[in-house]
């Protein structure tokens, strides 16, 4: 039994529908093997983290799911359809925000809709609603360079939300913001997962962050990249955001993940 299959067998059986499934994905960069025969499933309406040491291919996998990279073998299925490129059912949140520096917040948030050909007044109404949702009301006319890192990522998040995709792909979205903003983001993200019926795929290198925000954590190990373990925290998710960090299960899982990853960290 391969390691991947074993990981699947160990994971608790899922009663949820699967929104995204990754089947036998391999990707090579020249002679470097980035991903080998990776399979993974993402339940609908939940947040799954891809966690692993650097070089384990988690961002590569995310970009393949987004359709930004082509896998060498294997396929990605989103809502029953095979992915052939970027599509309106997935929206991406970038690590470095990827905002248009020459456009104000309103246009940046509406840019995804603009590219989809939504008329100006309609897309701006929608953008304004999401700007309010992420807590940036009053900053519609500001430019990215006038905002802090945290506020910029809120713009990136609002842009991804406003196109109303079923699947949100987040590539280390909070790694470029400061610690306190980051904690606020994590709490907001939990509320978002609870309120929006979307599937979140979240790449991070922070163990605490992954355990804190995820319904399911996929541990990826490098060289060749593979899924070593899938962890589904069961008890603390319902206890409220302020209690998670001192829950015994939370602490145990963080420890357990660290002990399995420590050998791979240089």
């Amino acid at each position: 039994m391969s390691q991947t299959e074993k990981a699947f067998a160990d994971a608790a059986p899922l009663d949820q529908e699967i929104a995204v499934s990754v089947r036998g994905i391999s990707k090579n960069y020249g002679a470097v093997e980035a991903l080998r025969d990776m399979s993974l499933e993402f339940p609908r309406g939940q947040l799954t983290s891809l966690l692993g040491p650097s070089g384990c291919g988690k961002t590569t996998l995310l970009k393949i799911i987004a359709g930004l990279l082509k896998p060498d073998t294997g396929e990605i299925i989103v809502n029953g359809k095979t992915v052939t490129g970027p599509g309106p059912n997935r929206a991406f949140v970038f690590q470095d925000f990827a905002l248009l520096p020459w456009a104000n917040v309103l246009r940046n948030v509406a840019f995804g809709l603009e590219l989809r050909g939504v008329p100006k007044s309609e897309r701006e109404d929608k953008a304004e609603k999401y700007i309010k949702n992420v807590g940036l009301a009053g900053f519609e006319g500001s430019f990215p360079h006038e905002l802090s890192g945290g506020m910029r990522q809120r713009v990136g998040l609002a842009r991804a939300l406003s196109v109303d995709s079923q699947v949100l792909l987040l590539d280390e979205p909070f790694s470029a913001v400061d610690e306190q903003t980051r904690r606020k983001f994590q709490e907001d993200l939990l509320a978002l997962v609870a309120n929006e019926n979307k599937t979140f795929i979240f790449v991070t290198h922070s163990i605490e962050e992954a355990v804190y925000v995820s319904d399911q954590v996929a541990i990826l190990l490098p060289r060749p990249s593979r899924v070593s373990e899938i962890i589904r925290p069961s008890s603390f998710r319902t206890k409220g955001v302020e209690n998670i960090r001192r829950d015994p299960e939370y602490l145990d899982i963080v420890d357990e993940i660290w002990s399995s990853l420590r050998n791979y960290v240089e």
């Binding site: 991406f92 990827a98 520096p101 020459w102 840019f111 590219l115 990215p144 196109v163």
Partner: protein, 250 residues
């Protein structure tokens, strides 16, 4: 600049140089340098004459057409070179040769190919301006943040959208820098064209005045030309400043 706590207006050093020119002119040391006041008097007397206006319009027509072609061809070529590895490999050596080549030497060839008229002058002007615009645009496109491009693609941008909504704007600060230098070079190109190809426009006036030792006329036309080139360059510099708010944070 400050002197004894007083802030001097921009370019006030020109007054000093103008004064020096006037003094040298007054001494009559050389016929080549008439007093500046005399040059300006001549300037105002010739500026409304039909000969001057005709020269101005001929030069402006050639110059503006040349600048138009170097921008309209240069920017797209630069963007495509920045985006496509293949095109870059094919064209970059030529662009690099032409940007540093003594283009004046090519003018006789152009005359053979395109005749002695306006066409050759416009082509000369274009050739002077276009290469630096291509190079700068290419450099601007190549430094685009990779994730901006990925962002546009992931939200479903067509190649046309990507071109007009991302690449062009992201490269705009470099493009404007290139256009500014290209335009200054085009001034050189149009005058060289008018002197070498067919004696028209300001080139004809320079010929005429220099051949007849009308030095104050000569300087008057030269000052007009310098002022025009300087104004255009300053205007483009001003546009460049307008986009600098995002140039640093791309």
């Amino acid at each position: 600049m400050h002197i004894y706590g007083y802030k001097l207006p921009a370019m006030s050093s020109l007054l000093l140089w103008g004064l020096l020119w006037e003094i040298v002119g007054r001494t009559g040391a050389t016929f080549f340098v008439p007093p500046l006041t005399e040059v300006f008097a001549t300037l105002f007397s010739i500026i409304g004459t039909p000969a001057f206006l005709q020269a101005l319009s001929e030069t402006a027509r050639a110059f503006l057409s040349g600048v138009f072609f170097s921008i309209a061809i240069g920017i797209p070529v630069g963007i495509f070179m920045g985006k496509s590895r293949l095109l870059d490999e094919l064209l970059l050596p030529w662009v690099n040769i032409f940007v540093s080549a003594p283009l004046t030497a090519l003018v006789p060839v152009l005359m053979v190919l395109f005749g002695f008229g306006m066409k050759s002058i416009i082509i000369t002007t274009t050739l002077f301006g276009i290469w630096i615009i291509i190079l700068n645009t290419r450099a601007g496109v190549r430094q685009i943040n990779r994730s901006l491009v990925e962002m546009a693609i992931s939200f479903g941008a067509t190649p046309k959208d990507a071109f007009f909504k991302v690449y062009f704007w992201a490269a705009l600060p470099e493009i404007l820098g290139g256009v500014r230098i290209g335009v200054i070079r085009a001034v050189k190109g149009v005058i060289i064209g008018q002197l070498l190809i067919s004696i028209v426009g300001f080139g004809a006036l320079f010929e005429l005045y220099a051949a007849n030792f009308l030095m104050s006329h000569f300087w008057a036309v030269l000052i007009v030309l310098f002022a025009l080139a300087f104004t255009i360059s300053e205007f483009l510099g001003y546009l460049e400043k307008k986009v600098s708010y995002y140039a640093a944070s791309r």
